[in-house]
Symmetry: C2
Subunit: 144 residues, 2 copies
């Protein structure tokens, strides 16, 4: 039925550890099952976040650890559904890195949550999804 | 495989007659096939478009005809793929009407094009998708 579909072959799921990105990941797994897509899980350590330079190193290390934990948790959740994802941890501007990975990995769909709580990262994936909606050259699904 | 999925059951596809919304409709058909979803095709006659009051009636009639043609064409395209959609023509603010239909029809996914050319309607579906990304309570797929 879906034999001739050349889309939804590679799905990028940027994570921020929030319940919103977890929900996006659940949807991504459903799309994966339906289209037999590949899944890439991405966590971006946001380097451009304004923070006192003295605390910067410690802060980035904390974010990196949080990112690793987030990816590990997501990886386990996805493996349980019989899907083997690729996981990536990048450092930089979150929107730029998402777009770079989408391009380099030739993704044809990005699935993001509506917004992120990110008590640790303090990043709003919501504003990220808005920026991606405007700038990304790849199709985008915003999960509410 | 997709038996337990309760999402993507009703997809709303707002059309503006542009190639972008045609592409969105193609993707919608693929998602429909994969998830056995219902499809609603919607054209909104944008009433809030600023136009000389003297030309208003004629302009709205023209938009209405264009909308009917757009829905007819999309309906035929979708029928050819073995899908029987519901078609709706509404009048009002395009974002408000999309959200109203999504809510009333209990849609769980809106699929829109990235931007619209809309030589006739002069509406940019692009800005509509950005507004929906921010305000819609329903998941949104922006097709590039």
């Amino acid at each position: 039925m879906t034999k001739n579909i050349t889309n939804f072959k590679k799905i990028l799921v940027p994570l921020d550890g929030s319940k919103y990105s977890e929900r996006a990941l659940s949807r991504a797994c459903e799309v994966q099952k339906a289209f037999d897509s590949k899944i890439i899980l991405l966590y971006v350590v946001e380097k451009s976040f304004p923070i006192n330079l003295l605390d910067r190193k410690e802060y980035l290390e904390m974010l990196q650890k949080f990112g690793e934990r987030t990816l590990k948790k997501a990886n386990e959740m996805v493996l349980k559904k019989g899907i083997t994802p690729k996981t990536l941890l990048k450092k930089g501007n979150i929107v730029t890195e998402i777009e770079k990975v989408a391009k380099n990995e030739k993704c044809d769909l990005i699935i993001v949550g509506n917004k992120g709580l990110g008590a640790v990262t303090r990043l709003l994936l919501g504003s990220v999804s808005n920026k991606l909606a405007q700038t990304s050259s790849c199709s985008l699904m915003i999960v509410k």
